[in-house]
């Protein structure tokens, strides 16, 4: 097997730029462009269809009413939108403090082997299929207390934690060490420095991480299928089944009713708008807020 240097020499230095080589170069460029177009195509198609099929159905009724019985026309997804928000809130109460805390630990105390283990585990946790989270939440909550918003919240919280942890760690590491030193030099204790100075400097970045976690988790359906289960009515009780936007879209889309399918598109459009909005807000905040904070 010729080593790289000799093959380079024989390929390039000896031969002039033959037509064959030029052709390959051109084909490669063409293939890459084709790939880009092929990838952009479904993206464009998805957004186009969502807007075409869904926009028309988003009206006041849709946003304020609850579902009608199958087969009947009308009704809305108000309870599903509220339910999603409700469960996100429950999930945040558990996931955000733990995630930020773990991120603080990794950045300030975890620059060592043990910290690497946690870091690695967080990345592994990120890759676990969300349906497995659902099984776990089912075991912990549903098995004893039935389908509930809490169960859905637990499943979502488990998914939020690794995302928030890694984002928080990255943002804290961006804060220059001189800032910490300035605080130590003033005789500020370590915990106070970490919270009031370091974390405060990285605030916009940490919020970014939390919003990214929201965006990721808001659209999740699989873990909610047998935890929150869904509900055709309003529900604010934490221990009862709750509707969610993603769940509702799934049930409607796989149903045989025309009107439900129409509403599924509308629900999907709302969902994607909320997600794209969070992500864009994150990017804008990142390009402005972070620079202000860490420099």
């Amino acid at each position: 097997m010729p080593d790289s240097t000799t093959s380079l020499v024989s390929d390039f230095a000896a031969a002039p730029i033959s037509f064959g080589r030029k052709l390959k170069n051109g084909l490669a460029t063409g293939a890459a462009i084709a790939a880009v177009l092929l990838v952009l195509l479904p993206l464009g198609a998805i957004f186009a269809y969502l807007i075409i099929k869904g926009a028309g159905s988003i009206n006041w009724d849709f946003l304020t009413k609850t579902p009608k019985p199958p087969g009947e026309v009308g009704g809305g997804m108000a309870n599903a939108i509220a339910g999603s928000a409700y469960m996100l809130l429950i999930a945040s109460c558990m996931g955000v403090p733990v995630g930020i805390g773990a991120g603080i630990y990794l950045a300030e105390y975890g620059r060592n082997r043990f910290g690497n283990i946690i870091r690695f585990t967080a990345d592994v946790l990120n890759g676990v299929p969300s349906i497995v989270m659902g099984i776990v939440a089912w075991n912990i909550v549903v098995a004893g207390h039935g389908f509930s918003a809490l169960a859905g919240g637990v499943a979502l919280a488990i998914m939020m934690i690794p995302i928030i942890t890694r984002a928080t760690e990255e943002m804290l590491l961006l804060v220059p060490n001189t800032v910490r030193e300035a605080a130590y030099g003033l005789g500020v204790s370590r915990w106070r420095t970490t919270l009031s100075i370091t974390l405060r400097t990285a605030t916009s970045g940490v919020i970014t991480g939390v919003m990214l976690a929201f965006a990721r988790v808001a659209g999740e359906t699989a873990p909610l299928l047998f935890t929150a289960l869904g509900n055709t009515y309003w529900n604010w009780k934490i221990n009862k089944p709750t509707a969610a936007l993603s769940l509702q879209v799934f049930y409607y889309a796989t149903s045989p009713y025309e009107d439900w399918i129409r509403q599924a598109w509308a629900g999907a459009l709302i969902l994607i708008v909320l997600i794209v909005f969070s992500i864009s807000a994150v990017r804008i905040a990142a390009s402005r807020g972070m620079l202000k904070g860490a420099n």
Binding site: R111, E181, Y184, G185, G187, G293
Partner: protein, 252 residues
């Protein structure tokens, strides 16, 4: 008023590297003492050992005895407590980026639990006046952030911040090395005036600066204190040949 510093048998390590060896030194109260030497000689490490900043670096440690006034730095009191009574100004100005100028100066007090607004206003004004920054920022200090000032102003802000907590000793680690000559001049003037109320130890690689502001000078080389004497003597008639070689620019 400032207090004197007594250093006995100070040793410091970075992991296995023995960065400071058996340093013995007495720093005069209400005077400015300069610490000079070539890069890597341990002068920054020495100063950072005085307020126990050295140990914030992982794997770093120090042994020996340091007494600042009536405080025994290494025995008995927590590092945080020590650092509240010693002010430090760093090489690169490091105001807190998300805080206003006012909040920067008040930071040392606020973060330690002091919130009396009226007194804070007084202290902030006094500190900014000491560091010759008051006139320039008094109208905008609540709105502008600490990071929006020029380099020289930022460093004066850091000095004001350190002064606000009424330290007895001010440690300065090459405070002018990142600044332009005009800002440097202003800060040297400042040091001159501060000497009346504080004891100052300044690390500098600029020998002219040492001779301008300091009454006493210590020359460090490879982790050892080679010579410590009045600045005049060090620069005109040093006792040790190595000192003379450094002064005359033969190395470093």
């Amino acid at each position: 008023m400032g207090v004197g510093i007594q250093v006995e048998k100070l040793n410091a390590w970075f992991g296995k590297t023995h960065a400071l060896q058996e340093i013995n030194m007495t720093v005069a109260a209400n005077h400015c003492t300069a610490v000079i030497g070539p890069s890597g000689c341990g002068k920054s490490t020495f100063v950072r050992c005085l307020n126990r900043m050295h140990e914030t670096i992982p794997d770093a440690r120090a042994t020996g005895r340091v007494r600042i006034g009536d405080m025994d730095v290494y025995n008995g009191t927590s590092a945080t407590h020590i650092r509240r009574r010693i002010g430090m100004v760093f090489q690169k100005p490091n105001p807190f980026p998300t805080m206003s100028i006012y909040d920067n100066v008040a930071a040392g007090l606020k973060l330690n639990g002091f919130h009396d607004r009226k007194r804070l206003d007084e202290i902030v004004q006094r500190s900014l006046t000491y560091s010759a920054l008051w006139e320039e920022v008094k109208d905008t200090m609540h709105k502008k952030s600490g990071a929006s000032l020029s380099g020289g102003q930022q460093q004066r802000l850091c000095i004001a911040r350190a002064l606000a907590v009424e330290p007895q000793v001010m440690l300065m680690d090459e405070p002018c090395s990142a600044l332009d000559p005009i800002s440097t001049g202003k800060i040297e003037e400042l040091i001159f005036q501060l000497k009346e109320k504080f004891t100052i130890v300044i690390v500098t690689h600029n020998m002219q600066q040492a001779s301008r502001v300091a009454e006493f000078t210590g020359f460090f080389l490879l982790g050892k204190l080679i010579e410590f004497d009045k600045t005049e003597k060090i620069f005109t008639n040093p006792s040790d040949k190595r000192t003379e070689d450094y002064i005359t620019g033969r190395f470093g």
